[in-house]
Symmetry: C2
Subunit: 160 residues, 2 copies
DNA sequence: CGGAGTGGTCTCGTTTTGGAACTGCCGGGG
DNA sequence: CCCCGGCAGTTCCAAAACGAGACCACTCCG
């Protein structure tokens, strides 16, 4: 089985991971959220090779996560987050919370503050019905509507 | 620069990504949360090659995310999530929320319900001071204590 | 025109990956 | 006891992904 075929599985964790879950993609997006927009800027900020960066940016544009456009002065190109790309932020913040908890022995390298009140922002997994914060132990997955069209398909035994 | 050297940067997004951000690692963890514990079970659930699975499991054990132990019957090996591994769940749920929003045209393939009240669980990025939900636009990163020890180091220009 | 800066491409040697065959271990049944 | 099947883990090789650097085409600016 090829890795890309996983994108056909009816799983909302697997499908994004086929796009985002490789060596550089989420780091490129992290730079995007930090305000990086230009090719050379990405390259020097991340230390990624040019050909790899080209590949990753192209893939993100292809999936509608970044938008590639000529800048106002016409002299260079800009890669900017789309709405879809902007909504990836909670994923990066969830990673950061875990990194702060387990990989930052000297304390958090950065604080991510709410601009309005200077409080720190954190990710919470909450139940939309009762509002309490939940963990993996409190969750039971069950089939949803999106799985119906996949029931009799080949490969349906993979994933959950 | 080698990819693994990124782990030295003082950034709580970059450091976890060096461990978790490759082709299979988060999918292995997704299977773990779904109750998969045995080598062959991981392999048939994911379609990953045996050598790759061996590498990924070993790396996760090495980082204290999974615990490798002999099962009670002594006949086989089990890989179970540690506390550190268990805390990765919000990352997967953030990915799922995004996947449900943008990669599930037929609706969510699965619902993740709160066992106590059957409400659905979702990830929120909230300000711990004022309690409101925030997005990337509302956040201003600033230096934290963990960055001090890295100020004069080589490579400090990378990251943000 | 010439030089600097841009995004992007090409090539080459290295590393990572996928697939499948193979090993060694253990328990159960004859 | 021996054989067999299932298990985790290893080894091998071809293919794909990768890093580094040279190279190209274009645009602005003087």
């Amino acid at each position: 089985m090829r890795y890309e075929d996983l994108a056909d599985l009816p799983c909302s964790i697997t499908r994004p991971l086929v796009i985002l879950g490789d060596r550089w993609t989420l780091l490129v997006l992290k730079a995007s959220f930090a305000g990086v927009r230009r090719f050379n800027e990405f390259q020097s900020a991340l230390g990624i090779s040019r050909s790899r960066l080209q590949d990753r940016l192209g893939r993100l544009v292809e999936h509608g996560i970044l938008d590639r456009r000529q800048a106002a002065d016409g002299a260079h190109v800009e890669y900017r987050l789309t709405r879809k790309g902007h909504d990836i932020y909670p994923i990066l913040m969830a990673i950061r919370d875990w990194g702060d908890a387990y990989m930052a022995p000297d304390g958090p390298p950065a604080r991510y503050r709410h601009r309005d009140c200077t409080g720190e922002a954190h990710v919470q997994l909450t139940c939309e019905a009762c509002g309490t914060e939940v963990t993996a132990h409190d969750i039971t997955p069950e089939p949803g509507p999106g799985i119906l069209s996949h029931l009799g398909r080949p490969g349906a035994e993979l994933g959950q």
